[in-house]
Amino acid sequence: MTYQVPWLSLLIWLPVIGGCILLFSTGEKKQTFSKWFALTVAIATFLLTIPVYLAFDNTTAALQFVERDIWFDSLNIEYFLGIDGFSLPLIMLTSFIAVIVVIAGWRSIEHRVAMYLAAFLMMSGLMNGVFASADAILFYVFWEAMLIPMFLVIGIWGGPNRVYATIKFFLYTFLGSVLMLIALIYLGIEAQSFSIKSMQQLPLPMNAQHYIFWAFLLAFAVKVPMWPVHTWLPDAHVEAPTGGSVVLAAIMLKMGTYGFVRFSLPVTPDASFYWADMMIVLSLVAIVYIGLVALAQKDMKKLIAYSSIAHMGFVVLGFFIVFALATDNKTDAAIMGLQGGLVQMLSHGFISGALFLCIGVLYDRLHSRQINDYGGVANAMPKFAALFMVFAMANAGLPGTSGFVGEFLVILSSFQTNIWYALLAATTLILGAAYTLFMYRRVMFGAAKNKKIAALDDLSPREFCMLLLLAILVIMFGVWPAPMFDVMNSSVEHLVECGIQSKLTLEGMCIE
């Protein structure tokens, strides 16, 4: 066998090690060095994803770039990495967002810059680990480990109420995932292997599936976050520094929905089917209820946080309508629902990340997130106004932006399940536009509210580049989303045809 480049290990450990090195260069004098170092590491990591993308085989749902080694022999735990169509786009997103976050923190972070950047580099590596793990315990380790840098980022560089927010954030997410660990251990013992694949192929009786489904659900629902376990998110966002909010919104939330496609649906298909109606109702509540709540927000970050919850509702909705569709033999619609949910994850990564950056741009200048403190910003910042408009429209789901693609597909496929699902989900067309543009109007339009606003500086070249990059992606994937579908297609089809089939009888299961 020829020597293989361990691409996935590189993607995980390069930023983590880079982060460790940065920690030792904490001297305040070396600020510029640490910034450039962090940027180099982040860009290098992102560049590594390109050969992976190019060599990725779209035609199979099997794991690729596999690295497999024994970790704890006695417990059957392995260092087992591999990616498929669900994980590759998320790894690319994570590595890309890491670059953006490093650029975003260039000026706005003033103390302990090296540590700040180190935390983000490590976080991005660990998140890559979450998406690349093919062993459940390894997955769990990354899953929990990445909480630590996030916890520190909010706790150290956060706003005035950061302690409450961090504890809330940590307890919420940690309590959720402890039960997942128990479920994973149970599954590992039953399957005599901790490889996720073997868990997916493990036949399970109904009552076991119920318990496991709920254990997973608590972990994932908190991360997504789903109504009613969402209240940590607005608080965490409000207190987090800009970079923290970007990573939180763009990637961390996706870990929850990734968990659904990786574990809940294929490991416990019957329980997922059983609880699908509840999941759908909860996502619809997220879309409608949270959409209304977003309308009432006075803090920009809170508003976008709520909007995130509503948009993530579409992901969960798209995932859980597949059961009804698949049993009804509407395979195409089921695939469309899943694709829609997955595309929504990526698109939301770009859009919410960009919106938090936009708020960061304003916050850096006026140190306020209150909508009422602004007004007429467009007068002084025309470039910013144009880019912010792109993201606002994308958030409102305008066709031609990536924000439209996922919502459109999910609405189309939910119509095929139950027309009321579609009707309720489609309210986002009105609510999403209302809260986003209402905020845009009050912040950007009108005469400049005071002298400070009239004297604002427009985007610096650094800020302009980072927002422009995101804007190009948002529009490109809106006009031509085919590349996203192509990468995911095989994995999605496999999930619909095999993954979600009943495990109660052996005949129903796909044997590979």
């Binding site: 209304l292 309308l295 007068n379 119509f415 489609a426 067309l429 536009a433 543009l437 005469a447």
Partner: protein, 655 residues
């Protein structure tokens, strides 16, 4: 063919991008130069295509440009469908857009957002062309929302004005309500037809209708086709401003006048009419939906026309007139006279763009005074504007031989032949609408161009004819406003121009019934002098003459006599008040309520912080047991031992 179509669509986009992104570098001349060349070439190519299609050299084309995405067996594409319907729209859109581009050079002169404005209107042209050329519902929806976006940007073009940014948000949200229906309609199309491609869907239309699929919403069973058509039409109601989703259009007049002409009169607002014509194979299968369309259109035509009489802002008069005319078009759709509707769309595009631009010319002359009570006798100062406005007005009221006459007469006659539920009501609405159309049109015309001068001395001093870039488009639009129908009425209305694009069931074919009386365009117009609409129009004209010119005191006494009616009209039938006082507050209250009680009190207060408090309380109690005194622990041990032994020995003790 693919290259031609792509050129037509992409040139305006290029222009928009260059003017928008490099506006500073290329300057004002560069910005208008590049966009005008783009739209101009697109216009030339469109007319060339149209000519080729009339001559029969160019066949209908349906081609795919690229694949947007595939999910399972479903492939969504971006592609173009060129047939008589889209060719006609191409010509109308690019021509009016070109006129507006040229006009804008004069109108927006010196505005700090000059380049941005050109970028927007070119972008709009691109979006509108994508809409009309679409060969599938996905792209239709893209164009549909994209024109909405540009409309939003342009209404709020002067974003420092609070009224402008209020109006653009309102326009976007009201349109989104319509789009809500539209999207559901599209979802329905995919569900019942398994495709979003026009040709596939239309080919299956009769089959699906024959299957009689129904769906249940919890209240009654709906025929699937009816449901889809009504949902799609709700989208049209937003975009084409039909009651009750019309409320955004009058406010959209906050935008600069050129876009009122282009977007809010000639093209975008007619997208709904175009869409329903495009969907004629579906709408024809549901008389319920057609009735609905007919009644909504008729209501809009009549009641919005009535509002035109009480407006004093020159642009708002024209805006209400647009609403009313859109109502005529929509009513024609309901009567299955799609061709008449499209024909009126075309003539209206010319004469209404003309009227708006003429109004703009007056506004420029008056230094942005828009109140017609402060005008008068402008004919003396602006002769070209006066004569072109007169032509526009005559076309609008439907004077025989003018283009508007042919289209409006065909609509009224066709609706008269319709035999749907509500067609009598619709017929009378449209008929008496003619009287009010003439009344408000001539009221405005007289008050602006005749009667005594009421402007202040300063304005009067500077009053003069607008520059050439402004009046040339007026003249170029005035020509088709008079003559376009002379050659097009016959093929479009009664000929077979639309045969392959519009499908009409023989039993609904109201235009065929009208065509029985049709010999040629001249006798049609001569015959027009003997019909009721003509006399109603004359009555309107003379009423306007009497009330506003000969005896101005009359208007006040009439207003006093009908005070309650006047109040109703002044408040636009209280639609705005209802939205502002009921819908918006209820929504905001729901948001605040859920935020306060749902999130803060219930989830955070009770569940999250509550459980934290509970843990704390348990801790507070249990720490009392950790007193540190040995005898406390000894006592606890004793109690524990006792409890354990009782529990253990209880069964034996009982025996």
């Amino acid at each position: 063919m693919q290259t031609t179509l792509l050129t037509i669509v992409l040139l305006p986009l290029m222009g928009a991008l260059i003017a928008g992104l490099f506006g500073k570098q290329i300057g004002e001349r560069g910005a208008h130069g590049v966009t005008i060349i783009g739209v101009g070439v697109a216009c030339l190519l469109s007319f060339q295509l149209m000519w080729g299609m009339i001559e029969g050299d160019i066949p209908n084309v349906n081609l795919t440009i690229y694949q947007w995405g595939t999910m399972g067996g479903l492939s969504l594409e971006v592609g173009f469908l060129l047939d008589s319907l889209s060719a006609l729209m191409l010509c109308v859109v690019t021509f009016v857009s070109l006129m507006v581009h040229i006009y804008t050079i004069g109108y927006m002169k010196g505005d700090p957002g000059y380049q941005r404005f050109f970028s927007y209107i070119s972008l709009f042209t691109f979006a509108m062309l994508m809409l009309v050329l679409a060969n599938n519902f996905l792209q239709l929806f893209f164009g549909w929302e994209a024109v909405g976006l540009v409309s939003y940007l342009l209404i709020g073009f002067w974003f420092k004005k609070d009224s402008a940014v209020f109006a653009n948000l309102k326009a976007f949200l009201v349109n989104r309500v319509g789009d809500f229906g539209f999207l559901i309609g599209i979802a329905g199309v995919l569900y019942y037809f398994g495709s979003l491609d026009y040709q596939t869907v239309f080919a299956q239309a009769t089959v699906v209708a024959a299957e009689g699929a129904t769906l249940s919403l919890g209240f009654g069973e709906w025929s699937a086709i009816t449901f889809i058509c009504i949902c799609l039409f709700i989208g049209a109601m937003g975009k084409s401003a039909q009651v009750p989703l019309h409320v955004w259009l009058p406010d959209s007049m906050e935008g600069p006048t050129p876009i009122s002409a282009l977007i809010h009169a000639a093209t975008m607002v007619t997208a709904g009419v175009f869409m329903v014509s495009r969907m004629s194979p579906l709408f024809e299968l549901s008389t319920t939906a057609l009735s609905f369309v007919l009644i909504i259109g008729a209501i809009t035509a009549f009641f919005m026309g009535l509002l035109g009489i009480v407006q004093n802002d020159i642009k708002r008069v024209v805006a209400y007139s647009t609403l009313s005319q859109l109502g005529y078009m929509v009513a024609a759709l309901g009567a299955s006279a799609y061709a008449a509707s499209m024909f009126h769309l075309m003539t209206h595009a010319f004469f209404k763009a003309l009227l708006f631009l003429a109004a703009g010319s007056v506004i420029v002359g008056m230094h942005h005074v828009q109140d017609i009570r402060k005008m008068g006798n402008i004919r003396k100062y602006m002769p070209i504007t006066w004569i072109t406005a007169l032509i526009g007005t005559l076309a609008l009221v439907g004077m025989p031989f003018f283009s508007g006459f042919y289209s409006k007469d065909a609509i009224i006659e066709a609706v008269g032949h319709a035999s749907l539920v509500g067609s009598d009501f619709a017929y009378y609405c449209l008929l008496f609408g003619v009287f009010f159309t003439a009344l408000y049109s001539f009221r405005m015309f007289f008050l602006v161009f005749h009667t005594k001068e009421r402007m202040n001395a300063d304005t009067r001093q500077h009053l003069q004819e607008s520059p050439r870039v402004i009046w040339i488009p007026l003249v170029l639009l005035a020509i088709p406003s008079v003559m376009i129908a002379w050659w097009t009425a016959e093929p479009l209305l009664f000929g077979n121009f639309f045969n392959d694009a519009i499908r009409v069931q023989p039993e609904h074919n109201t235009l065929a019934m009208v065509s029985r009386q049709f010999v040629d365009v001249w006798s049609f117009a001569l015959h027009g002098f003997q019909t009721l609409p003509f006399w109603l129009m004359m009555a309107g004209l003379f009423t306007a003459l009497l009330v506003y010119v000969i005896k101005p005191s009359l208007s006040e006494s009439i207003a006093n006599q009908f005070a309650p009616l006047k109040r109703l009209l002044d408040n636009h039938y209280y639609f705005d008040a209802f939205n502002q006082k009921v819908i918006v507050p209820i929504t905001m209250m729901a948001g605040k309520g859920l935020s306060k009680f749902g999130d803060e009190k219930l989830i955070d207060g009770l569940a999250v912080n509550g459980s934290a408090k509970l843990v704390n309380a348990v801790g507070q109690i249990s720490r009392k047991f950790q007193s540190g005194y040995l005898y406390h622990y000894a006592l606890m041990m004793l109690i524990g031992l006792l409890a354990a032994s009782i529990w253990f020995f209880w069964p034996q003790l009982n025996v």
